[in-house]
């Protein structure tokens, strides 16, 4: 079941006018921001489907940039997000694409600075709920509704066991888990939705595993 909480239905509290095109867009932007972990220097956003046709009227543009600025769906600063991003030195580019995507409300967000860059594809599935379907070329399914760990690691035996052992030691329960890779034996991505928030000690321990390249955590 895609929707698990009554607050997916009665909620979110948000700035209008559209839950999918405004609140959902803000959430996609915000997940990209938390995956990147800091304020980016640039953001390149591509809209597809209904997003592409109606993004101006729905405030999808200000909302997604608001999310990149780390604003929540009800943050009234969303209305001025484009101006604020400019003031904060973030270079924003936005395009409406003609390509047909699986979901009518799809956005591709590339944010980065001199040292790093990430590419996130998010879909807005209705009522403000979103899913992240792609991260740096890895296909995944992440709701952003639970705390989660994203672990980039070498595609090698023992990686899953190593990570699971650390989580078990700290009594963190795994609710949902997916592993994907682009090519056998190369880089792989673990997406782990957990029931408790993982603190810095756990993140550091995961990072110290030789097989792990990068750990990103997403809060509830």
């Amino acid at each position: 079941m895609k929707y698990k909480s009554v607050f997916d239905i009665i909620g979110p509290i948000m700035i209008g006018p559209s839950s999918s095109h405004t609140a959902g867009a803000a959430r996609i932007g915000r997940v990209a921001r938390s995956l990147f972990g800091r304020k980016p220097k640039y953001a390149t956003i591509s809209f597809y489907g209904s997003f592409a046709k109606t993004y101006r009227g729905h405030g999808t543009d200000v909302a997604i940039v608001g999310g990149i600025l780390d604003y929540d769906t009800f943050d009234t600063r969303i209305v001025d997000a484009l101006t604020i991003a400019k003031q904060e030195g973030i270079e924003v580019k936005m395009t409406a694409e003609d390509a047909i995507t699986d979901h009518p409300n799809t956005a591709r967000v590339i944010i980065g600075d001199e040292t790093d860059r990430i590419e996130v594809v998010g879909i807005s599935i209705g009522g403000g709920k979103i899913e992240i379907t792609e991260l740096n070329g890895f296909e995944l399914r992440l709701s952003g509704n639970h705390p989660a760990l994203l672990i980039v690691h070498n595609d090698k035996y023992g990686a899953i066991a190593g990570v699971a052992n650390i989580l078990a030691k700290h009594e963190i329960n795994i609710g949902h888990m997916e592993v994907s890779r682009k090519e056998k034996g190369k880089e792989a991505l673990m997406v782990i939705e957990i029931d408790q928030n993982a603190d810095e000690i756990i993140i550091n321990e995961l990072n110290s595993l030789p097989i792990v390249q990068q750990v990103v955590k997403i809060h509830d």
């Binding site: 929707y3 009554v6 209008g16 006018p17 559209s18 999918s20 409300n105 599935i125 009522g127």
Partner: protein, 295 residues
Amino acid sequence: MFRNVAELIELAESKNCKISEIMIQQEMDVTGRSREEVLGFMDRNLRVMEEAVMRGITEDVKSHSGLTGGDGKLLQTYIKSGKSLSGELMLDAVSKAMATNEVNAAMGTICATPTAGSAGVVPGTLFALKEKLNPTREQMIEYLFAAGAFGFVVANNASISGAAGGCQAEVGSATGMAAAAIVELAGGSPSQSAEAMAIALKNMLGLVCDPVAGLVEVPCVKRNAMGASNAIVAADMALAGIVSRIPCDEVIDAMYKIGLTMPSALRETALGGLAATPTGRELEAKIFGIPLNEK
């Protein structure tokens, strides 16, 4: 976890409790949160709804495009004149539903129920019924859980997205949710709530999502108005003992299948329906400053 309306009703009947109670308990189970926390979250949503309604019926709200705003207030003045034909309660609900959506269109703060474009129906009916039934704060919170329970089924078994299923998935769902919640607040049974939802949603089937200029304004605000009135009538019918010949779950499934066959031009792309009328196009060109021949 209940998966459809039939299971929801069976749970409520076997435990001899309200639908809202089933939803509250499921929320506690799924999230591990206490009853107090869950009710507290909903209380906060209720507060946002109330503020949006009050703002919409007292202030001069206007959207950036200038297409909408002020109709909720206009209707309040008309109600006070005592000349209304469809009755005070009905028009009050309609006014408060529009007020919420006018605030939404003006990029004000609202609570999506189940979406922003359909955010007027549930609070509009609730704050109108408040005048007649004098519910406690707790009963008002329960109203939202009851509406949420039905919305939960629709969201999981069909859709609540206009881009995916048309307006029937948004205002249609909201109307069904409100009808079911009205029945519970008025003292009806869980199965009467399901009948009300079925009756209400049946009359929203096929409704397309065709916003002028792609804005959640025209015809969204007035569709929320009609959704609110539809919900009250459907609730009254169910409370009178009228049943839907097609069971609620099958109506929801029909809505889903209609959505699947709906052309993309009628699913929130501003390419068809009212958006493609000469006036709709003219308004779009004016708002975005694009010459008409390039549309």
